[in-house]
């Protein structure tokens, strides 16, 4: 039904004749450039599409979205990058989520679509490099076909909104050209992508491609799929990851109508976290969710704690403080690491006119995704089919492969729309559970974590204790900055060498490294067996809060306007080299700061307003962000009156999507700073649902987030999914200080503010 008709030996793109004469363009990656086309590559089902672009003979265009969309908008922005290169008519484009693209390369996986990773800020930069080519090639082929049909040479034709147009105005639609275009050999060299002046979709606002279906309740998330006869599994996990089952009585559970089986699960100690069940667990398998939940309620289980059972967040915080207090300068034995040491911090202290030291504590956090962990799994002898809410389908594949022993192409993974990721879905313990249960009951399984399981069994963002001290000379210049951080690295047990464990906690190039002549940062390892893992905005969130709060404290000490202190510290516009590559563009950072300051009328209002104004900035991976926040305080009620955020992400693909990301991340960061903390007692999280881990209510949050976007058209685009998080909380705390004279050095903010007021 389909045939590979032309393949560039250079193998940068594949052109294929699809079913019914459609033109199909896909990108094979290095390993499979010369591999045979796998069966089903051009399947007619949407999930099986296997390509990036399909132009049907009726002129409709289907574009595949390869990266999971966890709410980051990549299902919209990535296809628009392709569609723009293609000069497609966006109203005739439909987007489908590509499942995992994997083929069998002598038993090893070969990734058909290259980059498949969501929510880490890498989707847009990766797409900018390769996906544009898919659109450019399809357009080139259509132009050649148009030349044949219209009898005009291709270089005199132009494309517009799904049409090839001749100089005399004659035009022919892509649909009519698709079959002929599929017969044309691709050029030896990739056709050049468009010049920016010819972009029609890039830079123009577009709503979420799934919006219409989402508001109608029609977009399926993982458990909105139904594998015919699938059973439902709900879990009861051991409160301790390193604990074990002491006793279990399943009599009452098995007596519940509809309950079929109780399955015991154990983490495999040889496997890294995220690839095996998160803790020992018992799965109740039933023919309906309701029966499974009732069965779970009837379980009589006793769990026995492991070593983590003696830990508490309060004790860990005391240990952190003790580490920072100990006079011994950072013992350089990894994992404790001296991350950076510029100049001579100790010697600079001799020229001190003034000194400032402050300690900041930030709590453990849960991911608290709206959609709890879940997975659908059908495991047959020679085939596995999974529907997985994941940010990293290739990693999910590895988990399934290791548990089933199937070959790469026998594993099919679909990624539907995902109800939030924030780093939680880079781990796949819940996928391992679904596979184990499905194998055990020999039936397809819909696995659901209840909210309490989800909240109390997470790979948490570890708490952090920062201590910063600065030396100021007689000219009010900061001449030395000593930054210490004690935390339990999120990377422990994840295959990262000891001397790199600091990388999830601290950045070598974070403000004000490179801006102060004598700068030192030390990371102190806090040993803990509590579960930890990747989290959105890690490590920027905690560091930005400490550093940007501290700069505000410096301003207060120097009796300066905090914006002036900040700008003075940043210095003139220039490029500052970052350790590990890239540069920090001070001009762009200053610019986003000025933009928020102007918008909130900082000069007038900082001094005069009865409300409090706060400001902060940060940079992530070549993108720049600043927040200005205005708060009121009436009695014990804190109101966020205004929140302004300016970002510079380079070229903007979809301004509407970007605004949503920036506003959303700002609200998430503000709400988290206001309310949220996970605490451990006896190794167990004390929070179990949204009553004790209260995401911010509508009333707590600002009515609007004013987003300002710097036009960055001559720069490549960068990812933005968590860019707006780091500077929001310090801007808030700085505003709170201004209105209340209370310096909040400990989050969550509301609890601390009420304690100190």
């Amino acid at each position: 039904m389909s045939e590979q008709i032309a393949l560039s030996r250079r193998g940068f793109l594949k052109v294929l004749a699809g079913a019914a004469g459609a033109l199909v363009v896909g990108v094979p990656f290095a390993a499979m450039a010369d591999a045979p086309i796998p069966p089903g590559f051009l399947g007619d089902t949407l999930y099986g599409m296997g390509t990036y672009v399909r132009i049907d003979t009726d002129g409709n265009v289907v574009i595949g979205a390869r990266d999971p969309d966890t709410g980051t908008g990549v299902a919209t922005s990535l296809p628009r990058i392709i569609a723009d290169e293609l000069d497609a008519d966006w109203s005739r484009v439909s987007v489908v989520s590509l499942g995992l693209g994997v083929t069998n390369n002598n038993g090893a996986p070969s990734w058909t679509y290259g980059h498949q990773l969501g929510g880490t800020g890498s989707s847009i930069p990766a797409a900018w490099n390769d996906l544009r080519q898919a659109g450019a090639l399809a357009r080139w082929l259509l132009l050649q076909a148009g030349a044949q049909t219209l009898g005009v040479s291709a270089d005199r034709l132009r494309c517009e909104k799904g049409m090839v147009i001749a100089p005399d105005g004659r035009r022919v639609g892509y649909g009519a050209l698709a079959t002929a275009a599929a017969q044309i050999s691709p050029p030896k060299n990739p056709p050049a992508p468009k010049t920016p002046d010819r972009y029609t979709l890039i830079g123009q606002p577009a709503g979420d491609v799934d919006a219409r279906r989402i508001v109608a309740g029609q977009t399926p998330y993982t458990l909105d799929h139904h594998f015919g006869d699938a059973v439902v599994a709900v879990l009861a996990h051991c409160p301790w990851r390193d604990g074990q089952l002491k006793s279990i009585d399943t009599t009452a559970t098995l007596a519940v109508k509809g309950v079929q089986k109780v399955v015991q699960l154990k983490p495999d100690p040889k496997r890294p976290p995220g690839q095996t069940p998160i803790a020992p667990a018992v799965a109740v398998v039933a023919d309906s969710t309701w029966a499974a939940l009732q069965g779970r309620r009837q379980l009589k289980i006793e769990w026995q704690p492991g070593p983590s059972g003696s830990e508490s967040s309060a004790a860990l915080e005391q240990q952190a403080a003790a580490l920072l207090d100990s006079k011994a300068s950072a013992d350089k034995t990894p994992p404790t690491t001296r991350v950076r040491d510029d100049g001579d911090v100790d010697k600079a202290g001799k020229h001190a006119a003034r000194r400032l030291e402050a300690t900041y504590h930030q709590p453990w956090l849960a991911h608290a995704t709206a959609e709890t962990m879940c997975c659908m799994a059908r495991i047959d002898k020679d085939h596995a089919h999974l529907i997985v809410p994941t940010q990293a389908p290739q990693r999910a594949w590895a988990v399934v492969q290791s548990l089933t022993g199937l070959t790469p192409d026998q594993i099919e993974i679909n990624v539907p729309r995902v109800g939030g990721g924030y780093g939680r879905r880079l781990d796949h313990d819940y996928v391992a559970e679904a596979v184990i249960v499905a194998k055990s009951v020999n039936k397809p399984v819909r696995l659901l974590w209840t909210r309490d399981e989800d909240m109390s069994h997470d790979w948490y963002r570890p708490a952090s204790t920062h201590r910063i001290s600065a030396v100021i000379d007689h000219h009010r210049h900061v001449i030395a900055w000593d930054q210490k951080l004690a935390s339990a690295s999120a990377l422990v047990g994840r295959g990262v060498p000891d001397d790199r464990l600091w990388t999830s906690e601290l950045e070598a190039g974070q403000i004000p490294a490179g801006l102060v002549p004598n700068y030192r940062s030390d990371w102190y390892n806090l040993a803990s067996a509590l579960p930890r893992g990747p989290h959105r905005g890690m490590p920027q969130l905690t560091n930005a809060f400490a550093v940007e709060s501290f700069i505000d404290e410096l301003a207060h000490l120097l009796r300066e306007n905090p914006l002036d202190t900040k700008l003075r510290l940043l210095g003139e516009a220039r490029q500052v080299p970052l350790q590990g590559g890239g540069t920090l563009d001070i001009g762009r950072l200053r610019n986003v700061l000025s933009l928020v300051a102007d918008r909130i009328d900082w000069k007038q209002n900082w001094l005069r307003s009865v409300n409090g104004l706060g400001i902060a900035c940060w940079h992530i991976g070549g993108a720049y962000v600043a927040h200005a926040v205005e708060v009121s305080l009436k009695g014990n009620t804190l109101g966020i009156e205004r929140a302004v955020c300016a970002v510079d992400v380079g070229r903007v693909i979809n301004p509407k999507g970007l605004e949503g990301q920036i506003a959303g991340a700002t609200l998430d960061a503000l709400g988290t700073a206001l309310n949220l903390a996970i605490t451990f007692k006896n190794g167990q999280p004390q929070q179990h649902d949204w009553k004790d881990y209260p995401l911010a209510s509508m009333a707590q949050l600002p009515d609007d987030v004013e987003v300002i976007t710097v036009p960055g058209d001559n720069r490549p685009p960068t990812g933005a999914s968590f860019l707006a998080m780091p500077s929001a909380a310090p801007a808030l705390a700085n505003a709170v200080f201004r209105v209340s004279a209370v310096r909040v050095r400990r989050l969550p903010l509301m609890k601390e503010l009420l304690r100190l007021l």
């Binding site: 709410g71 709503g207 029609q218 909105d224 709206a370 995902v418 909210r451 649902d689 509508m698 609007d704």
Partner: protein, 177 residues
């Protein structure tokens, strides 16, 4: 778990009256259903597992977050807290029932699309249901009225939802005028 689906337009003249059956009659999105399973089963699982009306979503055991809101007699209620046996005689509308009969979106749904009031979208059904209830009570809701919405959103779509509600209120006023 069985259910009988009574076509809404059955001609009563041609139907022989059936003997009284055990079970629960419920009306969802204008259609009639007969539930013969556990009367204590929460509506959420009836919608999702039995009817496969999946737009109403699980958020937590007590309905926190509001992803599982439905309209019962026009009021927003958490579907996981409503046992089936309490629902006879109380018409229910889920997110799938908000659109007009011809499939065109309700002005509120359209406003969510226009304002792009969607992050991951998992919580969106719940916001729509709660906002619908709000607009029933307040034709022109103030910011403090909107502040009373019980929903939670980890993606931070609240400011866009606020705009969407105001846009919908304006559109609905225009339509009625």
């Amino acid at each position: 778990m069985l259910q009988a689906h009574v076509p809404p337009h059955a001609d009563p003249g041609n139907v022989t009256p059936e003997p009284a059956r055990a079970g629960i009659d419920v009306q969802i999105n204008g259609e009639h259903f007969h539930h013969t399973g556990d009367p204590d089963m929460p509506l959420l699982w009836y919608l999702r597992d039995v009817l496969k009306l999946d737009g109403t979503r699980y958020g937590g055991e007590h309905g926190e977050g509001g992803a599982d809101l439905v309209l019962v007699n026009g009021k927003a209620r958490s579907a996981i807290t409503l046992p089936m046996h309490k629902l006879t005689g109380h018409p229910i509308t889920t997110v799938e029932g908000l659109a007009q009969a011809d499939g065109s979106l309700h002005p509120l749904q359209q406003a969510f699309v226009d304002e792009d009031a969607i992050g991951c979208g998992y919580c969106t059904s719940g916001w729509l249901i709660a906002s619908m209830d709000l607009l029933h009570r307040h034709r022109d809701p103030s910011d403090s009225d909107i502040d009373t919405l019980p929903n939670l959103c980890r993606c931070g779509c609240q400011t866009r939802v606020r705009r969407a509600i105001k846009r919908a209120a304006a559109a609905m006023k225009g339509a009625k005028a």
